[in-house]
């Protein structure tokens, strides 16, 4: 067995306990010299308490500015097989739907050109192929495109858009997340492959406010499904839940954030004008309640994870947008954002940070959106927006 003469005692500590271990998994591929040297180098990192990877530089495929992240060993004599160990981001299908044939094809391509190690999936959503030489990049890319796959984004560009499974599996989807994600990916191919922004820009599409792809926390443009009419109620099913032990008063009414549901012991009623679409009641009684029929999405801007500076949650920009095929309004909004941020954003400044720096009011002014109450993150805080008409009236 290829792991016999592999001396990695520190890494093997990570195999103890009941949980899955990446060490165990990589060991299964230890016949591959790259996988083997990955483990050996990682053991040295644990001994030295320092990473032995260097990254950056100039790798990629002709014409693209993203998709392959250059990675090198800082000890190439000691670990010659991982001297070059570049990472590929491969654009995942919408909603991560694969058939087994597609998965086999991808694995075969990667075993032919790289270490065979993958990470399904990276935090942006791509399939991550870990470890190839510089020489292998173009032939691997050729095989991927031949099989119908493309590289995703990296660097200062549109990152690979991602979406929840949406109507593919979920009855709560308020729009077709799979189609919107695919359409936006196709539309912005240039922005995805040719970095032209101050920093990365992520799109994420969730079909309802449960936000299964965490778009409100992780994307520069977050598209979250919602509805504007009434929650649909099946009172017979409500009664069944009550009969089967659900305490409607305690578990539904009391936990509704705006207390807009009431229960008279037989039926519930909802004051929909005060519903904030949190999904709580629907999640607890999925057979009895479902989103309304007039469906669309809320567009939020400016979230980011804490890499440079702290984390930001997104701010509502458009409370309700009908998600019609073509998504013209969405595309127009994205281009308006890029225009302003692209010109005045600082290097490595995410759009949310840029909005904080220039001020929401100035930002809205520049991209041509009117301020609305839904943009205020916390009630009764000063939004620093002055309504000019009101000021003028007061001045008169």
């Amino acid at each position: 067995m290829a792991t016999k003469d592999l001396k990695i005692p520190l890494l093997e500590e990570l195999e103890k306990g009941p949980w899955p271990s990446f060490v165990t998994e990589i060991k299964k591929s230890a016949d591959n010299p790259m996988a083997r040297d990955t483990l050996r180098q990682l053991e040295k990192s644990y001994e030295d308490k320092i990473s032995h990877w260097k990254h950056g530089g100039l790798v990629g495929v002709m014409g693209y500015g993203g998709g392959v992240i250059g990675r090198y060993s800082d000890s190439p004599e000691e670990f010659p097989e991982v001297k070059e160990f570049h990472t590929y981001r491969v654009n995942q299908p919408s909603g991560w739907f694969y058939n087994t044939e597609a998965l086999r094809t991808l694995c075969d391509i990667w075993e032919k050109h790289g270490s065979g190690l993958t990470n399904m999936h990276g935090s942006t959503g791509d399939m991550i192929f870990l470890g190839s030489t510089t020489e292998a990049i173009e032939p691997c890319f050729a095989d991927l495109t031949e099989a119908g796959f493309d590289l995703g984004g990296s660097g200062s560009d549109v990152r690979t858009p991602s979406c929840c499974v949406g109507p593919g599996r979920c009855e709560w989807a308020c729009y077709d997340t799979l189609d919107a994600c695919y359409d936006i990916t196709q539309e912005f191919q240039d922005e995805l492959h040719r970095p032209a922004f101050p920093y990365k820009f992520k799109f994420k599409f969730s079909g309802c406010p449960n936000d299964c792809v965490a778009s409100i926390a992780r994307s520069d443009m977050s598209v979250i499904g919602t509805w504007k009419d009434n929650i649909q109620i099946n009172q017979d099913e409500v009664a069944n839940y009550a009969k089967n032990g659900v305490d409607i008063e305690a578990e539904i009414c009391e936990l509704c954030p705006t207390k807009c549901i009431s229960w008279n012991g037989k039926t519930i009623s909802i004051d929909n004008s005060n519903c904030v679409k949190c999904m709580h009641c629907i999640n607890v009684m999925p057979k009895a309640l479902s989103p309304g029929k007039e469906r669309g999405a809320t567009i939020l801007i400016g979230a980011k994870a804490p890499i440079i500076g702290g984390a930001l949650l997104a701010t509502v920009f458009v409370p309700f947008l009908e998600m019609e095929e073509g998504y013209e309004d969405l595309k127009e909004l994205a281009e308006a954002l890029w225009d302003f941020w692209g010109e005045y954003g600082k290097n490595r400044e995410r759009i949310g940070e840029f909005i904080q720096r220039v001020g929401l009011a100035n930002f809205l002014d520049e991209i041509g959106l009117e301020p609305i109450p839904e943009m205020i993150a916390h009630p009764r805080t000063n939004p620093y927006i002055f309504f000019e008409d009101e000021l003028e009236e007061e001045d008169e």
Binding site: H55, D74, D190, P195
Partner: protein
């Protein structure tokens, strides 16, 4: 000055990347702003610059490099970031 051809803008960009080599890394937007200044905003816009950058990259005269952000550099600059 009249509207330049895409290639003329691409060549002016290449010249800028060449003279700033080793002194300043340029992003796509830096090149775009410099071209608008050079040719005038009545003659050159962001769209034209985008096409010029595409021509530079597709022909291999320039490449994208990553140094904490994405820059447009000459193909010979095989620098690595630690």
């Amino acid at each position: 000055m009249s509207t330049p051809e895409i290639e003329e803008v691409a060549e002016a960009m290449l010249e800028l990347v060449t003279v700033t080599k080793g002194k300043k890394n340029l992003k796509a937007m830096d090149l775009t702003k410099a071209m608008i200044e050079k040719f005038g905003d009545e003659n050159v816009d962001k769209k034209l610059c985008k096409k010029a950058i595409r021509s530079l990259i597709d022909s291999g005269r320039c490449v994208y490099s990553y140094f904490g952000g994405s820059y447009i550099t000459l193909p010979s600059e095989e620098t690595q970031e630690g």
